[in-house]
Symmetry: C2
Subunit: 577 residues, 2 copies
């Protein structure tokens, strides 16, 4: 691997000019301002001190700029990874294995190293086992849990749990203890941000604003709310009125340090770290692809693995928690006009300045405002469209979504992901274990053969043509054996069965035995078994076994050849004249 393939700045600094720099600086200023509330909010969502959100938005951005392949992806704390972090560190902290902060740091380190290893081994394909319905269902369910959980800070009460039943139970019990002024601040913030998102664009369009400036104004709503509530909170002493504030945040930059490591802790955190890393990777690639497509820039999944791995490792050694490429962060960066990862590097410097100078001001920020930011952000993650498309499109996809959402809501994020993956794999295997197969006949006047049940086709009385629409493997071998033999008994005067194999992409050893068995059973009834349109790789494998020596019939290049040859044979058969 050459250095200029690994270090991305050597790619994007080529042709970097003054105009690019001006665009990147402008984007960085906007991004810095907008990411401050997000970073603080997601740290609190993960159950961590607010400053860890700032720390996770500094060094990881440098690391990603060095190794990641997307030009505009912005890494940092995101909603779903923060919820998963909360669940994982909550579990180890409740067992007394480590405190929240060091468990979160170790989680970032483990995830980072796993991602780097996967990138070096080109193991990005692992993420392909997360089907779109599973990812979409998982994010939807996570968004519901996150939004529900934020009702705690919005009402000024403490909600515990990370599943629908436990959150609802706590909410029901504590509803009476809601704190009036907190509710007012929280509800006001939510209402303002919702208005900004859904109505402001129409209003501003009236006064002639449109395009990028319009988008940026809309997206700055959380910053506006902060700019209003912080002075208000200081002036009206919200603190003494009992409104929970962000409070003391240590000023300054994070100290470099290695996370505390112990073997039992690694064992506990390995699975959640892997899941956070993979989900984060899938999300980042999806965001990166979407943004890349708009500017015809391609992203490389293996480089993304290394980029995200480096970002998480950087988070771990600078007191942060797991980071990934977030949709809303990246869109802000993109819309603000970022051209290269230089914008992210500059934004990281901006956040570093905030960590040094802004923390005294943040003291007065009500936690309810941050909760409002989260609620409004995660609402857009709820993906009804995919659920409805899956429902229309295909039962297996719909069940995969439903199972993922249900398990995530009722049993938590880790089991949710695992159940989703298991469900989609099982449904796929189940689907292929009872394959579609069709008795086919000739489309008149052509050499094309189609399903007798769907098309008006010609068949021969002594030839049964069966097209099997699936690779033959252990899960469907027994079923195919039964179906072919059953079909053969339906047709009297039968002399030839031709299995048409254009859809058979592989025949494994279990299926080879089933074919031998079909061959034997048909032979006992004086019916010959033929194959047609066997693909190259399948034929190569069959030739390495003894099957072709036992086969009572022949293998034909095309199905039409088979029918022509057998039609000639058939008319010579005295039983048919």
């Amino acid at each position: 691997m050459r250095a200029d393939q690994t270090l991305q700045p050597l790619v994007w600094l080529r042709g970097y000019n003054c105009e690019s720099l001006i665009n990147d600086v402008l984007a960085a200023v906007i991004v810095t301002i907008m990411l401050i509330p997000q970073s603080l909010a997601y740290a609190l969502l993960a159950g961590l001190p607010a400053e860890m959100g700032l720390y996770s938005s500094i060094l990881p951005l440098f690391a990603y700029a060095l190794f990641g392949s997307s030009r505009t992806l912005s890494v940092g704390p995101v909603a779903v990874a923060s919820l998963m972090t909360a669940s994982a560190v909550g579990a180890v902290a409740s067992k007394g294995l480590a405190d929240y902060a060091s468990a979160a740091t170790l989680l970032a380190l483990l995830g980072g190293l796993m991602l780097i290893a996967m990138g070096l081994l080109k193991f990005g394909f692992v993420s392909h086992f997360l089907s779109h319905p599973v990812v979409s269902g998982f994010i939807t369910a996570s968004a519901i849990i996150i939004a529900l959980g934020q009702l705690g800070p919005l009402l000024g009460v403490t909600l515990q749990g990370a599943t629908l039943p436990s959150l609802c139970h706590h909410l029901f019990v504590q509803l009476g203890e809601a704190h009036g002024l907190t509710v007012l601040v929280g509800a006001g913030s939510v209402a303002f941000m919702l208005l900004a998102r859904f109505c402001l664009s129409d209003w501003l369009a009236v006064i002639g604003l449109r395009g990028r400036p319009l988008k940026l104004i809309i997206r700055s709503a959380p910053v506006l709310v902060m700019a209003v509530t912080i002075p208000l909170s200081a002036a009206m002493s919200f603190e003494s009125a009992g409104v929970p504030l962000v409070g003391q945040i240590p000023s300054g930059l994070p100290a470099f340090s290695a996370p505390q490591i112990s073997w039992p802790l690694i064992q506990e955190l390995a699975l959640p770290a892997f899941l956070i890393a993979i989900i984060g990777f899938v999300e980042s690639v999806s965001v990166g692809k979407t943004l890349g497509a708009r500017r015809r820039q391609r992203i490389d999944p293996d480089k993304e693995l290394i980029g995200l791995g480096a970002a998480n490792t950087a988070a771990a050694i600078s007191g942060g928690f797991p980071v990934t490429g977030g949709f809303s962060r990246s869109v802000v960066n993109f819309d603000a006009g970022a051209e290269t990862p230089m914008a992210s590097v500059l934004a990281a410097l901006g956040i570093a300045l905030a960590a040094i100078f802004l923390t005294p001001v943040l003291y007065f920020l009500p936690k309810a405002v941050l909760a409002a930011t989260i609620v409004v952000a995660v609402i857009s993650l709820i993906d009804i469209e995919t659920i409805s498309l899956a429902r229309r499109y295909r039962a297996a996809d719909f069940w995969a979504v439903v199972i993922t959402i249900t398990v995530t809501l009722f049993a938590g994020v880790e089991l949710g992901v695992l159940a989703g993956v298991s469900a989609s794999v099982s449904l796929h295997l189940h689907h292929t274990s009872r394959p579609h197969f069709a008795v086919v006949g000739q489309v008149p006047g052509s050499e094309h053969y189609r399903n007798v049940a769907r098309h008006d086709v010609l068949t021969e009385p002594h030839i049964l043509s069966v097209r099997i629409d699936e690779s033959l493997y252990f899960a469907n071998a027994a079923h195919i054996e039964e179906m072919v033999c059953a079909q053969a008994t339906l047709q009297k005067d039968l002399a030839h069965v031709v299995l048409m194999c254009p859809a058979v992409n592989a025949i494994d050893l279990s299926a080879l035995e089933a074919l031998e068995e079909i061959n034997t059973r048909l032979s006992e009834n004086n019916v010959a078994l033929h194959l047609s349109e066997v693909k190259g790789p399948v034929m190569d494998a069959l030739e390495r076994s003894d099957f072709l020596n036992h086969l009572s019939g022949e293998v034909f290049l095309s199905h039409h050849n088979a029918v022509m040859a057998l039609r000639a044979k058939g008319t010579a058969d005295p039983a048919l004249t």
Copy 2:
């Protein structure tokens, strides 16, 4: 379900006559004699008192005769199920949850109820997920562990453990304590039975013996060894010489009783019970099919589930342990001339008589003789042929065998089965995640299209025809997107890409998104995307989505139609003239 469909005797008693009865009685006498050593030996292998082997060979045979669909399958204790029983009851006994005998009985009950439930629900397909390489590898590895474990009784020492490393370790440590006379008896028995198996048929053929009588004489070797060693042991007082004997066996029939049941015990035993039941079912169906094929009798997997379930439940209530249809037992029954399950019922009566009258004689039987019986029996289970076929035939099948054998040998039977199933599923998914795909062209003078790399075919400069040889689903969606787009960039003057879909049996939601993406990316380069030979069910699903509205090209019934239509269009394109 009508009674005559469920109760098998109503089927096979039709046309039962005096000749059938004589054949069945003769078979029963032979089977009874031969099964006594097997039953005792497998009980000891399972770590249970010898009499449980006899009990497991009485009532289960009646139950199977009532419900099972094979005419000649003989159920009872078998080697692999006994090893799995030893592993499962050893684990719960070491935790102090129950004694060996009651754990084994509960294991039979749980397995029996699971099999009956699966039979009633027609869930026999679950067993299809055990591919042939996994079952073969598992049985081979089990046979190796069993044979190695029997070196304990053969040497007169106590070996512990059920994995290769622990057995080897114990063997190494205790080799010096081998008991001379025991070794002599054991080695002599093994040698005699091996000679009988591999050489006797040649010798007896010289004096004119062949066919069924020859087979029965060869198979009676274990009984002959017993007939010689028991009097010898009594006369020469082997016991006082320190040779371990079978010893006191309670005389009489087992008492009917329900197994001890407790919830923690059920939790511990549920998984092993399921695995024993499924492995036993697969083995029984395979034996039943093999024997049934010789007499053109078919067996019904769903009835087999109920038959085996009933047999195990019967074992559980009569003091037995898990039973299944064994290969060697069934072959003895078949070769002895059994016509119907009446032979098994009569053999069960024979074993009952043995349990009542023969136990005082069995007192003197050296355990080494039983160990020799087991070793000689399991040697034939080692299936080198499948390993070598898999190696030749297909890498994925070979890896499935190797992983199953390795994990079974080094981590025990339960993990072995689970690792085998996981490996075969993962290998299948991995195989389909990088599907074979081919650029195709017209076979001259036909309407048939084949791989340009394998056949001498015609292509058009402005049409790229790609045949994808796999269903499109989440695991291969991203890969296919990359491959198609990469292929399209190789051909300049390209105006049309046609995806030929005869092998595409399904397109899931993740793959639908990939197709949308391919369509968009090709459109950006002014290339139209077309589909051909889309199957009925796939087309039905596509019509329920919006994809066909976005598609830049058309869907053609046959690939030849597509090429004809686009060839006409292409020549009209000014860029190409």
